[in-house]
Symmetry: C2
């Protein structure tokens, strides 16, 4: 494992990606500061190309390929966001993309891949081993595998979200970030680590999928006995990815968990006050802040809103709190 | 009437506002280009401070006040967004703000004003004359009136949204913009007019509130017989404001209208694909593009998404299309 920890790798990623991505806004508002008890700015990566931060890592990884690898094409397994990002980056660079995604991933994620001309293979996430499927197809078809998190190029690409946030808001002393495979958390931790000022990074997992929290407690990677059941479909990992883990175990200040109800409440808050549609996985860091799961303090905090890939009916269900008898959706 | 048409006024506004506002993103996506039949980028002003472009004009106007005017305080009448913007700008500059808003404006707009410490006066928009109320209180309390559209400073401030969009996307040859009082349209038209390349501007009104369209047809300002009934509560004007009209009659290429159903469809599209919560008034320009109300052409178009001030239950109702018997919100 070659650690991407040096400044040069992150600066290189920022340089390569400059002008190819949405410079997502850093949003703040009085109600959020009041609820959080500290100043908070939110990096709206749900507005990134294909609706999540994943576009950063996927594009950065593809930009590193040799001409021969580009010509043969790539493959990636994903709950949906990395797949869309890969399809988008592949189309931008003229690289054929195959994605392996769960058959029950949100339609908006599947259709996003199809609209970007990716070849789509589906699998059952409860019973099949995605990595094995990806490896098998890659070997058969001669494709380069682009991991969703376990790649130093993907991690360095993901780091550019936090780099932008810290450039825009150098006063931040704490970053709060969702943890799935751990690539975004690792990139964020590296971005924080390279700053002259001390910036802590706290990861957030859904309570049902706290493989990284358990791994940190154990001091080694722990595998959950079953695929987690949570509305945060993008964070249903059973074990931390290897390279992110090697970084996160040293650089994360803590990992905290949130319940599905806390995630839904954060989605409602984001819709009402931030004017943003977040998918459950994209709302966990905000949920941790709103639910008081982050240690108290007055230092300004940055929150990464990592994605918005949610089907509208599901979004409406999760954000609706009106009791059925006075349900305005039925009015 | 002093025309703010010269470059210097707009450049001055951009300079004064620089760093005080959210640099809202310009978003594009394949589904939108496909639906529109041309490249489209959307300027997400619903992410601006207080949830609409109004923060630009209100702050720019307040920055022009004399120390004496600042000390006495200001007053503004508004359907809600200008009121919140004024409250925000006043708090930022230490100026006392009074707002006059309809008693039935969205709660999120009223609460936004209250959270920003404004004094709130309400009125009945169907039966009372807002301008008379504002003028009366202003005279009694010695307050400076900040119009929501009828001010060259407000217009020049509003223009900075289109200036940013054209800076980010100099390829645009058409801008599509909501028309209420006409301040945003006028500012957008001035911003387009100052470019070396030809950029057309099309205004969009709700069908029930097409006072500007009728005025353009008549060649003079036309007053609607009654307050329009439309879900676009921010565009319920009965007559174009005077100064915006003087600009728009010369600089707008056309005004088109959209139905409430087309507005709801645009809100759904924005939520599902752009990951944005728009209020009905903020979605009319997008609605015009999606509904085929804009003359066909291949030139890239810019769309201003002007605001997101909508109560969540109302948003859920407007964006929900699932028939009741299979309503996922009840699942």
């Amino acid at each position: 494992v070659i650690a991407p920890a040096d400044d040069a790798a992150l600066r290189g990623a920022a340089r390569m990606l400059h002008g190819r991505l949405v410079r997502t806004p850093a949003l703040s508002l009085p109600q959020l500061a009041e609820a959080a008890g500290r100043p908070v700015v939110c990096k709206a990566e749900n507005l990134q190309h294909t609706g999540s931060f994943k576009a950063r890592g996927a594009l950065h990884h593809l930009l590193q390929l040799t001409p021969d690898e580009r010509a043969k094409g790539v493959i990636g397994g994903s709950s949906g966001n990395h797949a869309q990002a890969l399809a988008w980056a592949g189309r931008a660079l003229g690289i054929a993309v195959t994605v392996v995604i769960p058959h029950d991933s949100p339609a908006v994620k599947r259709e996003g891949c199809a609209a970007l001309d990716a070849r789509i293979l589906t699998y059952n996430r409860a019973t099949e081993d995605r990595d094995a499927i990806v490896a098998g197809v890659a070997a058969r078809d001669g494709l380069a595998v682009v991991p969703s998190a376990d790649s130093r190029h993907v991690i360095a690409g993901a780091a550019t979200a936090a780099m932008e946030l810290l450039d825009d808001h150098p006063e931040l002393r704490l970053l709060v970030v969702p943890v799935g495979g751990g690539g975004l958390a690792a990139g964020t931790a590296l971005a924080a680590h390279q700053r002259a000022d001390s910036v802590a990074v706290i990861g957030v997992e859904p309570q049902a999928g706290r493989d990284t929290e358990l791994s940190l407690q154990a001091g080694h990677r722990v595998r959950l006995p079953a695929v987690p059941t949570t509305i945060a479909d993008g964070l249903g990992h059973t074990i931390p990815a290897e390279l992110p883990w090697a970084i996160n175990r040293h650089l994360l200040s803590a990992v905290v968990t949130v319940t599905d109800d806390q995630i839904s409440a954060a989605m409602r808050f984001a819709a009402q006050h931030l004017k943003l549609v977040l998918e459950p996985s994209g709302a966990v860091a905000l949920a941790a802040v709103l639910a008081g799961r982050i240690p108290a303090g007055s230092e300004p905090a940055g929150v990464i809103l990592s994605g918005g890939g949610v089907d509208l009916p599901h979004f409406l269900r999760l954000t609706n709190t009106i009791p059925a008898r006075e349900d305005p959706v039925r009015a």
